[in-house]
């Protein structure tokens, strides 16, 4: 049977489980991933000639990583896998990709976007100095390159990744200057009932905190970042912050790992013209999906962190669900109790994720107090003050409008790292609700595209 042409973008846990489910039903999907290897973010594989063990690399998640990797390895003959392939546009049911300098055009009947997440950022004055990295970036340095981003790294922000990466650094022998969480402890207690949906994950998280404490790493909760100090030439040299009682501290460090949990990578969904809706809980816009990952566009599905930030286990479940939805929609028999089973798993993980959101909230209120001379858009080096000036002088209260006048979000990263914060700054400066500020429209290419891209026969 000539099944539907299914393309999966992303070979992380969501994409791999999606592929597995499709293959089991006799479909040969195409899996595209920009990375050199499968695994996605959490189960990112190290280069071939590295030798660290699974437990060194993935800690408590080592078993799951091994299972996912071998699942993918077993699928290799039964899928068309395109690694090192960037999907840069989607138009008229064709995926446009860049593979080793060449154009690849792939038509599809069904498209499953499993594009994962990136760090969510709120600027700190000085975050443009060399030596400030995203929290995720700090982890990638370690996981895929066995490096620390500096000799003494200060970890600041919030979210489970804050403690995880700091603990991984510590364990790997890197210097950890401090772990500074912007969320107060009380929130974690309040969220406890929800966090108990995943007792093991909760326990692992507590163990990380404990390990850091035991090692004597300075740890603070409920902090407010003040400034990353340093210079344009030499980069980061220190960090100052206020503790929960309002007392100012400063510390010396040569690297800062900064992040406030994650944001889904939704540009491709936007290019596929999926509808978005405002999610009040996370204060961001998400593609609208049904419980199984169907988007508003027929034949386009979303799974994993690229749809909702629910973590790796949920990515696997939602990848399976999206595959089951593809199967159902293309006339394959699908057993309802299989679907129900995955939905139940997802519901439990959703409850845990709510607990995490409640424990480690996005600090929207920081936007109001950012100094005018802090950079908001790193790509274009646009300051908070300039954005505020534009809002005040032109009346721009919508993200794309403010971008048009201020260039915030107009640079290489397409607003991935400034978009969320810029929206908060605009909302505060214009005194409008955040949902009315809207979201930056995605525009192709999702990442810089070489003009020299070679077409067939060119």
């Amino acid at each position: 049977m000539a099944g539907p042409r299914v393309i999966i973008i992303g070979a992380g846990p969501a994409g791999v489980r999606c592929a597995e489910t499709l293959v089991a039903a006799g479909i040969r999907p195409t899996i595209i991933d920009e990375g050199r290897r499968d695994g996605g973010q959490i189960y990112r594989r190290q280069p071939d000639n590295f030798t660290r063990s699974y437990s060194t690399l993935y800690g408590t998640e080592a078993a799951k990583a091994a299972v996912l990797h071998s699942c993918f390895d077993a699928l290799r003959e039964r899928v068309d896998y395109l690694p090192e392939t960037l999907v840069w546009n989607i138009s008229e049911r064709v995926v446009y990709a860049l593979r080793l300098g060449k154009l690849v055009e792939l038509p599809f009947d069904a498209l499953v976007l499993c594009t994962g997440a990136t760090d969510r950022l709120m600027p700190v004055k000085g975050w443009n100095f060399a030596g400030t990295y995203s929290l995720g970036g700090a982890q990638v340095a370690l996981k895929s390159q066995a490096c620390a981003i500096g000799r003494r790294t200060a970890f600041i922000g919030t979210g489970p990744l804050l403690y995880l990466v700091a603990a991984q650094y510590l364990k790997a022998g890197a210097g950890v200057a401090a772990v500074l969480d912007t969320s107060p402890w009380s929130l974690r207690l309040a969220a406890l009932p929800k966090l108990l949906a995943m007792p093991r994950a909760l326990f692992n998280g507590m163990a990380l905190t404990l390990a850091l404490r035991r090692a004597g790493v300075p740890m603070y909760n409920g902090v407010t970042p003040l400034e990353i100090t340093g210079s344009g030439e030499g980069g980061v040299s220190g960090l100052s912050f206020k503790d929960a009682r309002g007392q100012a501290h400063s510390l010396a460090c040569d690297a800062v790992a900064l992040g406030y949990h994650l944001r889904p990578e939704t540009q491709l969904a936007d290019l596929a013209r999926c509808e978005f809706q405002f999610d009040a809980a996370t204060r961001q816009w998400l593609p609208r999906i049904d419980p199984d990952g169907r988007s508003s566009v027929h034949g386009v599905y979303l799974a994993g962190d690229g749809a909702r930030i629910l973590g790796a286990n949920a990515a696997e479940a939602s990848g399976r669900l999206a595959a089951l939805a593809v199967l159902k929609d293309s006339g394959h028999p699908v057993e309802t109790d299989v679907v129900d089973g995955q939905r139940r798993i997802l519901a439990r993980l959703e409850r845990f994720a709510q607990g995490l959101r409640q424990s480690f909230p996005w600090p929207a209120h920081f936007a109001a107090n950012l100094p005018d001379d802090a950079v908001v858009c790193r790509c274009e080096a646009v300051t908070v003050g300039e954005l505020r000036r534009v809002v005040a002088q032109t009346g721009a209260t919508e993200s794309n409008r403010a971008k048009a006048f201020s260039r915030v979000g107009m640079g290489r990263c397409q607003g991935r790292y400034c978009g969320n914060a810029a929206a908060e700054i605009i909302a505060h400066a214009a005194d409008v609700p955040i949902d009315q500020v809207g979201r930056l429209r995605g525009q192709a290419p999702v990442k810089p595209l070489p003009i020299a891209i070679a077409e067939d026969g060119a």
Partner: protein, 102 residues
């Protein structure tokens, strides 16, 4: 400054020499261009808009803050490009020059 990044493990890999801004730099096979440059130095490029050196940010190909140049003017995203022996990297944007078509 010496290197920004610190190697913590995996140091038994094969050594590779590349050039960064004309100077030889020792790196290891399997390093990304970013790691090769930043274990030896402090930055990857200049911000075009005058706020100083940049050394990348996300390491996952999303922020685009780590583009460097090769000596012959090609562009590379340092975090996602594995180094190869003999690479010649520049952390300074080349001046625009035009070939002579006269």
């Amino acid at each position: 400054m010496s290197g920004r990044f610190v190697r913590l493990a995996e140091s038994a890999r094969q050594a590779v020499t590349i050039r960064v801004d004309g100077k030889p730099v020792q790196a290891l096979l399997g390093d990304s261009v970013m790691v090769a440059v930043l274990t030896a130095g402090g930055h990857l490029r200049e911000s075009e808009f005058g706020d100083g050196h940049r050394a990348g940010f996300c390491l996952m190909g999303a922020c685009q803050d780590c583009w460097v140049w090769t000596a012959d003017g090609e562009r590379l995203r340092a975090c996602s490009t594995p180094l190869t022996e003999g690479m010649d990297i520049s952390t300074r944007q080349p001046e625009t020059t035009w070939p002579d078509h006269a």
